[in-house]
Symmetry: C3
Subunit: 412 residues, 3 copies
């Protein structure tokens, strides 16, 4: 995963343009991605696909011809969606177009202006402090023209058409945690799925306009569960933010996280693309998984969100939790006890004996009693596990044994 | 408000009679009161309008002709609804008719006997201790005859016929906090209402029988919210008692009080006229606002509930809270997001720019996102404010801006 | 009660056989028991009535002819349902048939094997340690043949056919707390019922198969409340385990126990015959009352659960709580206020005066106001008592007075 982050890091991405296309190409080397191109001007829900932005070079040159600020050194130096500029200006004239972080003087901020046409440079406060009155040669060699918005998706077909969506934003330039780490974990999770129960859909799309575009072009009623995956590589502990409507994914994520250091947040209409999936018209069961929470670390949206800020271990940990979530989701069914009057006699069906010799025999016997008692169509296996205070795995194994013995029917 | 309390203080009020009429006349100088007279014997719900009681004078004179107990000094000295008496009695004969407070020996209690015909005097334990064996000349120059029960009401018409009722009991003689302070705050609140959304009804009526009379003679289904207002002038902090059924007024009052020292009590079927409004047949959304809670201070129903016991500052504070409650109630609507699929694009409608330059810009942007996300017809603005942890005012302003931009429809 | 425990203690009971018959005969001397005999092979729900087991003698004799382990000394020494054996064996051969408690070396365990035909002896670890290599004369003089399962029931008819069931397991041999104490308390409770409102059914049946047999042969929809009664005589405090569905009996038991040291447990599908009554098909309002909780004491299912382990005081305390539960259940009705618009005038009906002179007058007046206010058909008297924070007895008395005055109607 770290190698993928390293490879994607230098690319200048935005909500449209060749950087996104190149990113999807690289992802496509690992998983067979279907790439969509949506023309500028297309109406998507309340929004319109904007012009496509591309950039070749940009700089501020001082009187000696030195590139004081250079796109080649970091693509963060250009305000995203800057219109082309070629001019000579004094520092005073330039000043309204320069963005710094006065409280973090050594860092370059990440800024964009997608829907108001302007241009600008982002630089450290320290660089700004070292600049004389000028004049400066100002170049932004960009294009902002009719084109396309590009996104990719990969679907792993399941035994049922009900879908789980995992969505990553792909619009950020050289920011490692936000969101190359999320992309890398999603790719690895996608590769790990073999013949799943649910159909899994991985969406790689620019933030906001990308998910809105996808929502505008697809049926959403098959999406039963999902989460946005972002900031998946920093060294903080995991954070899960609940979906708007409260849903099974919230319960599953809390269950998986409960024995780790973690944070659970209630839904807020701010953050990543769960904002769109959880808008009241869609109101999907989509939460958000990050490590340190959205905007909750000083490196957020700065040049310090770099390759050193993310670690292989953190991404592996995020991936492990994603896999556990998948494992619980996959087996979290609802059953009906077919012998609900009194306890069925487990012994004559070999259900006590079958467990002999294992250290968790007693736990599995209790799990069978719990599953039988609460399988009335109202309780999922996870509901039962939480009520019983027993591991989900024991419930799933007990349910399988009871189902095989003809004592349970699975609910549709 | 304090001046009104001072002016009303000397008048001898009861559940009927000229003291109530005079009180309503004085209130009528500030707000145009409609006064109702209901004849003795009228059936009102399970009750019957009692005889009208009036009193001119009353005393106990000792052998030297000194008025040991004198109605002229304080109208508390006569048991309310005492029948006329003119007799000479020894202290021993008098004793069953004398009421004191042995635990508060310097205070005169407030006592009545509305529905059992008797007579009596209230005096301090200290006065009683100084009385010799007598004989005493006993006079109560009262009348208890067919007449009327008198109450007043003032209605401020709103844009909708749905009503908010504010009810004050008017039956107590010289007790300043209970309830001249409540009356004074209600009068001031009534004067402050200009072209409100709701129709506001102010009821000035004797306790129990007065509200029962009003309830018997009026349609109650237009009453959506309300509170009884009593003990509004003591120096304690505010107390809000919830309505029986749990209602919007309870939520609003708790929201308004949450940043002050205050107490919230669950409904009990005891206290002021919320008992009647919240009887199970009516079950209205009517709570009760007092400062120190009902019967919760030693001066309660004694001669120590006097003009010194109440303060202008306390009444001003009660009034301020009443006004805040009105402000939240007035604006606490339920909306439906007309662009519920994904977030609507606020920028193109000028909704980001419109907020520029204000220190609370970010709060208002968050408020807009919250209002859009939760305006599904199930949530009021106050629900959303509490869920978001943002001020109600920000929600109301955000909703107004979104409504003006055509993004919200108000629910009927 | 202690005398009954003493008399029943030596009898060798099991899930079938003459020990159970003798036990029911003795119970029948106190209360007129209806005894049922269900033939071996009868299908009962998912189970089949097993063969009947009886035993006359059993021992292990060492080479010197000493009975090292002797059924005559304690019937716990034989594994319940042991098939007949007559053989000579070395200790090594015997070993798989010997059951001890290594962690409690001086105690004899209680063990059974109802549904797998085998034989065995239970003995203390200390006895085992003292045994040489043998050979031993091994005798179990038992029969395991077609016969009957035996259970008894006693019904106290009430004014309504709705039933309260109290169920005790009768299948344990010489274990005093589990469950002779439960049987003794149930007998005494049954004797104390005189003309009750509900119909009370006392069931004395072997664990699991007994209650399953009863459930298979009876209509269960008349059972409104109930509890299993077990471990009723140890010196620990009382434990109530809730029914599966949450029911009135849970609320009543918690109310009765709240001023004593006690434990309330949520339902689990393990323990006594509440497992069967609360299987999802029946889902009855049946909880479980014990002193120290199921399997929660070291003497549980060992020879230390003997006559010294139980006390008269503990059984008397359990009985007292059972009686209080009955008293609350019997009077816990739901009323409708027939004068729900405003408060009815209590004075004119003598409802204030009727209470004069009692120290709890004020409490009863408050109780009347609460009953009137919350008697809307949704609240039981116990609901109202808990909401008001007043004793149930005051509510019941207030309701009676209001009912007599024609102000309340009892709900069907």
């Amino acid at each position: 995963m770290y190698a993928l982050v390293e490879r994607l890091y230098p690319i200048c991405r935005s909500i449209t343009g060749d950087g996104v296309r190149r990113t999807l190409e690289i992802i496509g080397e690992s998983i067979p991605l279907e790439v969509h191109e949506v023309p500028t001007g297309t109406q998507v829900l309340d929004w319109t696909i904007p012009k496509e932005w591309n950039i070749r070079d940009a700089y501020l040159k001082d009187a000696s011809g030195n590139r004081v600020v250079d796109f080649g050194a970091s693509n963060l130096h250009v305000l995203g969606y800057s219109v082309p500029v070629s001019a000579t200006m004094s520092l005073e004239e330039l000043r309204p177009h320069l963005h710094t972080l006065p409280d973090q003087p050594s860092l370059v901020p990440y800024r964009t202006s997608y829907y108001a046409e302007t241009w600008g440079f982002c630089l450290s406060e320290e660089t700004l402090a070292g600049m004389d009155e000028g004049p400066y040669e100002v170049l932004i060699d960009s294009t902002l023209e009719d084109g396309h918005l590009t996104y990719g998706e990969y679907v792993v077909p399941g035994q049922v058409p009900d879908e789980v969506i995992i969505s990553c934003h792909t619009c950020h330039p050289s920011l490692a945690n936000d969101n190359l780490a999320g992309i890398a974990v999603a790719v690895e999770l996608a590769k790990s799925l073999v013949d799943p129960w649910y159909t899994y859909r991985f969406l790689f799309a620019p933030g906001t306009i990308g998910s809105i575009t996808w929502l505008a072009r697809n049926q959403t009623d098959r999406i039963k569960h999902g989460w946005t995956l972002a900031c998946a590589g920093d060294r903080g502990s995991l954070t899960y933010k609940r979906s708007r409507r409260g849903s099974e994914i919230d319960q599953v994520a809390a269950h998986v996280l409960k024995d780790r250091e973690h944070t659970i947040l209630d839904f807020t209409p701010y953050g990543y693309d769960e904002r769109q999936f959880c808008s009241p018209g869609f109101n999907l069961g989509v939460g958000s998984l990050t490590r340190t929470t959205y905007a909750g670390y000083p490196e957020y949206h700065t040049s310090a969100d770099n390759l050193e800020f993310v670690s292989s271990e953190a991404m592996a940990d995020t991936l492990a939790v994603c896999r556990e979530i998948v494992q619980v989701l996959e087996r979290n069914r609802r059953y009906v006890n077919l012998s609900p009057y009194g306890e069925p006699q487990l012994g004559k069906r070999g259900l006590y004996g079958s467990l002999g010799g294992r250290s968790d025999t007693k736990q599995l016997q209790m799990a069978m009693l719990w599953v039988l008692n609460l399988s009335d169509g109202d309780h999922t296996l996870l509901d039962i596990a939480e009520r019983a205070g027993l591991p989900f795995g024991a419930m799933a194994e007990a349910a399988q044994a009871l189902h095989d013995a003809g004592l349970l029917k699975e609910m549709a």
